[in-house]
């Protein structure tokens, strides 16, 4: 099976079959990390540009490692001073200039929702959305699904609580689309000041109580308070936020006994999550990071025209 699309811009427009294709493909790439020589020749001769207009540590490193392990030639640009971005060049001019160097794939993170969609319309290269504003972060949702499937063997029928700053979270939106497409049940919890209007129409149950949200769930996914996006007056203090919405061992105990705990990182310890649970036995937070590389290898491979034979990957 092949992925019949030029770009990966979001989960919203992917079918369940496409999501499963990416996840199955990622299984076969995960094993590369266990080899002494962590490299396959799959994308030899292909050029990938990483355009991070918004700062990033883990996503950028993850994409760069994925590209190198696939033997692609990759170049990265950050939103550093001295680049053309800081000289007032428009996004479109930057993208067209870079495209003139004939890259095969542009991996792009941008603080404006829809920016990768705009560039994808204007450029012939494939575009991978590495996070756009408050809209989508598709590879994060894919690596989260990969991690859940790895631990639980399935997504269908699972109950997942997503807790925290929902309104500013592209991770929440991408996960909500992905999990509901694959048959999981999603409950969202957070303060009303950080809950976007109408999100229940996307198939989630919404509650203000973390205790209620985590009751009996298989997966607890905590979100980072996005201090850089807060508009002010969202909650009175980190102290009160933690008291009302932070994940503690007592709250986590309401979940199923075999529940797993996830966080897309970076964590605000003591604000949305207590260190004892972040580092506890339920936590799969570092597995998420590990799996991110395999999932991004799969995405880059499939967008380059790669195929995965049906039944080649473990069917779960």
């Amino acid at each position: 099976m092949r992925l019949q699309r030029k770009d990966l811009l979001g989960i919203e427009d992917l079918s369940a079959e496409e999501i499963l294709l990416i996840l199955d493909t990622a299984y076969s790439f995960k094993e590369v990390a266990a080899r002494p020589i962590k490299k396959v020749p799959t994308l030899r001769g292909r050029t990938v540009m990483n355009l991070f207009f918004e700062s990033s540590t883990r996503t950028r490193a993850s994409f760069e490692i994925a590209e190198k392990r696939l033997s692609a030639d990759s170049v990265s640009f950050g939103s550093v001073s001295g680049s053309s971005v800081s000289k007032g060049e428009t996004l479109l001019d930057t993208a067209r200039t870079l495209e003139a160097m004939a890259p095969d794939i542009l991996v792009m993170r941008h603080a404006s929702s829809g920016a990768p969609h705009f560039i994808a319309r204007m450029c012939k290269s494939s575009v991978v959305n590495a996070g756009d504003g408050m809209h989508e972060h598709p590879t994060q949702a894919l690596l989260d699904a990969f991690t859940i499937r790895e631990r639980k063997g399935k997504l269908q029928g699972l109950r997942v609580a997503i807790v925290g700053d929902i309104v500013h979270s592209r991770v929440a939106r991408s996960n909500l689309w992905l999990l509901t497409k694959l048959g999981a049940e999603v409950v969202l919890a957070g303060p009303p000041t950080l809950m976007p209007p109408g999100i229940e129409r996307l198939g989630a149950r919404v509650t203000r109580s973390v205790d209620e949200a985590v009751e009996g769930v298989d997966v607890v996914m905590m979100l980072r308070i996005q201090t850089e996006r807060l508009s002010g007056h969202d909650f009175p203090s980190a102290r009160e936020y933690f008291r009302l919405f932070g994940l503690t061992a007592e709250r986590l105990a309401r979940a199923r006994s075999d529940a797993i705990l996830m966080h897309p990182g970076p964590m605000n310890r003591g604000v949305e999550i207590d260190s004892s649970v972040a580092d506890g036995p339920e936590s799969v937070i570092l597995d998420q990071v590990t799996n991110g590389v395999a999932v991004r290898m799969a995405v880059l491979y499939l967008l380059s025209g790669g195929a995965t034979e049906a039944g080649h990957a473990p069917s779960r």
């Binding site: 404006s112 929702s113 705009f118």
Partner: protein, 429 residues
């Protein structure tokens, strides 16, 4: 110079006319309206099978001159007006320099007289530099020819200043046209706040932003007795506030735009920056409320808020793009196809909304085909079909959300002061 517009279906709500008649124009005025008129040496304009209405007036446009001639000029903007069937436009004050002095008003009037195809009525600023800090010399602006005052583009946030502006405006009997918004409620907002802003991850502008401002300004109009005209009204709540004000017989009027009547926030899917304007495209519920307002008379006028922008202002990230869409060349076909042809409103009501009501609100000697009135006439063809093609616009702005729409009905001839200023290319008249 004499002109006979012959055998058209003449619709004039002010004269309560709807009949096949001739119109005789002499020296720029309507000289006679009746069956089978003739005059020696007159040019004959055959309007049989067509609808002849008082010249349409767009009471809310941005012509961008002086200061932003790369977006639009008085010449290109009035050419767009004429090509859209408008014989007069009301030009907002947010130019550079701002129209806050008689010198700028006089400049706009002189450029319009030199280059303008349609008549331009300037609006003066309420506050100097649109800064919301101190009143302009409204008396001098009115002397120079402004027909209303407005800080359009910016609301007047300070309630005391707005109160004083309203009180002071009653000296000159000019309406205050207010852009009703509460900006502090939605920093960074770029679309209507609702389900679609949630899906698209764009910061929202709640409907309450407009309703809060409309209700405050209605209360101040009641306090001061000033005439308040609400610009580009877009929400159910704001419409209800105007409806209640009218029930109290307050001198409050409002306009709506074709884009708010015909599109909703769902159109933002795909992040086309030509769907970005202020106020933003609202919910389906709001859109339906505006249709009810058209039908029950709460809405006084349809105005385009024609806001041309350069491609560079729009070909950027959605949240960084300029607010505003063009409207002069699409409004009439859109209204004929989507409102009149679909039986939402009658043709006569459309003429009220696009001509006689704007003239009444602004006190213009226009908006009627009565004998003695200015000979501003728009001829419509209800069967003519067209496709919206931005690349063919007379306007310098190409920023329309309606590109590619196929529409039935449109203007075919525009007459200003007895002079034919525009005819559709395929017209063999």
């Amino acid at each position: 110079m004499r002109l006979v517009v012959s055998k058209g279906r003449v619709i004039d709500p002010v004269s309560r006319l709807d009949a096949t008649l001739d119109i005789l124009v002499e020296d720029g005025r309507i000289a006679a309206v009746g069956p089978e008129l003739s005059a020696s040496g007159a040019t004959i304009l055959d309007a049989s099978g067509r609808v002849v209405v008082p010249g349409l007036i767009d009471m809310h446009v941005h012509l961008r001159e002086p200061g932003f001639e790369h977006k639009e000029t008085i010449e290109s903007g009035t050419a767009a007006a004429a090509a859209g069937g408008f014989t007069a436009v009301v030009a907002m004050a947010n130019t550079s320099p701002v129209n806050d002095t008689a010198a700028v008003t006089e400049y706009v009037r002189r450029r319009s007289a030199e280059a303008g195809k349609a008549t331009v009525f300037p609006v003066g600023a309420i506050t100097k530099g649109l800064e919301g800090k101190c009143l302009t010399e409204i008396g001098e602006l009115v002397n120079a020819g402004v027909v209303a005052v407005s800080d359009d583009g910016h609301p007047v946030e300070n309630p005391l200043l707005m109160r004083r502006a309203m009180e002071y405006s009653t000296l000159f009997d000019v309406p205050i046209i207010e852009h009703c918004e509460t900006p502090e409620l939605h920093p960074g907002g770029s679309m209507h706040e609702g389900f679609w802003s949630t899906c698209l991850g764009l910061r929202g502008i709640p409907a309450a932003s407009e309703e809060i401002a409309v209700r405050r300004n209605v209360a101040l109009a009641e306090l001061t007795g000033a005439r308040l005209h609400v610009a580009h009204l877009s929400t159910r709540g704001a419409l209800q506030a105007v409806r209640e004000a009218k029930r109290k017989a307050l001198p409050v009027t409002c306009e709506v735009t074709p884009h708010h009547l015909l599109l909703t926030d769902e159109a933002v899917r795909g992040y086309d920056t030509n769907t970005k304007m202020m106020p933003p495209l609202r919910s389906e519920e709001d859109r339906q409320a505006l249709w009810e307002g058209l039908a029950d008379g709460t809405v006084d006028a349809i105005a385009t808020d024609h806001a041309p922008h350069h491609l560079d202002d729009k070909c950027v990230e959605y949240d960084k793009a300029a607010f505003g869409v063009v409207g002069l060349e699409t409004a009439v076909p859109l209204c004929l196809d989507r409102l009149v042809d679909k039986k939402i409103i009658s043709l006569s009501r459309l003429v009220e909304l696009l001509s006689s009501n704007p003239a009444r609100i602004l006190g213009l000697p226009k908006g009627s085909l009565a004998v003695g009135a200015d000979a501003d006439i728009t001829i419509l063809d209800l069967e003519r079909t067209s496709t919206v093609r931005p690349e063919r616009f007379q306007s310098k702005g190409r920023n329309t959300p309606f590109a590619g729409w196929e529409l039935r009905g449109g203007p075919v001839v525009t007459v200003v002061g007895g002079r034919i200023v525009w005819q559709a290319h395929d017209e063999a008249m």
